[in-house]
Each structure stands twice: as C-alpha cells, then as structure tokens.
C-alpha cells in the first residue's frame, strides 16, 4: 500500500472513529439546586421530555435526593438541544458521555 493510500485509510479510519464517538449517546444530567421549586422541575421535565407525571416526579426526587439524575440519553446534537432548553428554564444541566 502506498503512503498516500495508507494515510487515506488512516484518515477514513479516524473519521469513522470520530463519527462513532459523535453518534454515541450522551447523557443529559440535571443537577440539584436548593432554590428551584420541585413542582416547577416536574413541570419542565414533562414539558421538555413528554414524561408522565410519575416518571417526571421520580426523576425530580432523584435530583433532589442524590444531587443529580440522568433525565435523557440522546445523540449528541439532541442532547445539546435538551441541555440548552433546560438552561433556558433555569435548571442546571450538563452533558456526559454514556
């Protein structure tokens, strides 16, 4: 294999790995704060993720009791949108690799 071909294969390989890394699901993590109302957090989870009341309440309590909860696992771009929406509602949220 020529050096150029070898490089092309390596680059394709690297691009493929990058794409796989981008496509891997990311976790949307919501963090506790001592001020935001529990009812508001439940409302936001239901509105943004279409959760039923029981699921949204369970996740809110997990945030409250354990300090954080994974509220969604999505491809990176969708996870970023979810985090931006949570930020827009005043919640502390981050992304973490699944």
């Amino acid at each position: 294999m020529s050096a150029i071909n070898e490089l092309a294969v390596k680059q394709t390989d690297s691009e493929h790995k990058n794409k796989v890394r981008r496509d891997r699901p990311w976790q949307v993590v919501v963090w506790n704060d001592p001020v935001t109302l529990m009812s508001y957090v439940v409302f936001v989870f239901r509105r943004l993720f279409a959760y039923d009341l029981a699921t949204a309440t369970r996740l809110m309590l997990q945030v409250h009791n354990e300090g954080k909860a994974v509220v969604a696992t999505e491809p990176r771009e969708r996870a970023e949108v979810a985090v931006a929406q949570l930020h827009a509602h005043g919640l502390q949220a981050t992304l973490a690799r699944d």
Binding site: V35, Y40, E80, A84, H89
Partner: protein, 151 residues
C-alpha cells in the same frame, strides 16, 4: 396580606395580583434584573471540556441571555399594564421561567447555597422581606404550574 390569585380560564391563565403585590413585583424586577446576567448560574456550563464548552456557548450563550431578558420584559410589561392579567400558555411559561430567574437571583443575594435553608430561619423572618419576597415569587410560580397542569 392577600395572595395573588391564579387560575385557568379555558386555554388562558388568569393572574390577579393586589396593588401591593404588583408594586412589590415591579420593585423586585427593578432590583434583581440588573443582577441576573452577572449571577453565577446565568451562564451554566454544559461540558467539562473547555473546547466543547466554548463551542456550546458560542452556539447558545447569547440566545440564553436574550430569551431570559425577553421573559423578564413580558412580566414587567404585564405588571405595568394591569393588576388583572390574562396569559396565553406560552406567556405563562415565559412567566414561569422569569420567576425562576428572579428566585435564583434573590437566593444568590441571600447566600442560599444548600438545601435546608428554610429551617434555618424563624417564622418571623419568613414573613418579612427579603424571605417574604422569595415566598411571593414561589406562590405565583406554584400557581402557574398548577394552572398549566390542568388538562
């Protein structure tokens, strides 16, 4: 002191504040709005990695500040116009976000950093400003959540 009345009227949400509450809420806006964009939580991080975070902020950072300002402006405009306010569902959600911002800003000013802060104050302290202000904002926010949750 009477408390704001909030209920659903068809698709709309009706908010009725007293003259005193209206004045108090406008004062809260005057005092806290300038602090909002400088608050610790005002530019939340999405990533630990600096490069990813910089890109995320580049994409959404300005939008976040702009939408926060628009929400606060909606609340101010409504309060300046009347004590009886009819909100669309989207308008009510803008109010919810704005009230949350104001509660966070006030809490930061009060040095509230951990759960359990409610128990550290006497009943008298809860009834006087600034804690009473925080409770007024909570009351309205709870009322809006309840009204919007009616199916």
């Amino acid at each position: 002191m009477s408390l704001a009345q909030i209920n659903r009227q068809g698709e709309l949400v009706y908010v009725r504040v007293s003259r005193g509450e209206r004045r108090a809420l406008l004062q809260i806006l005057d005092r806290l709005e300038p602090l909002v964009d400088h608050s610790q939580w005002a530019r939340p991080r999405a990533y630990q990695e600096e490069e990813d975070e910089a890109e995320f902020q580049r994409l959404v950072g300005t939008d976040l500040a702009d939408s926060r300002a628009a929400d606060l402006a909606q609340v101010r405009e409504a309060l300046e116009s009347d004590e009886r306010i009819l909100l669309s569902p989207d308008g009510a959600i803008a109010w919810l976000r704005a009230l949350n911002v104001l509660r966070l800003a006030l809490a930061e000013r009060l040095g509230i950093t951990a759960d359990g802060w409610e128990e550290q104050h006497t009943l008298q302290e809860h009834r006087r400003p600034p804690l009473a202000t925080l409770h007024l904002l909570s009351w309205i926010q709870e009322g809006l959540v309840e009204a919007l949750s009616v199916s």
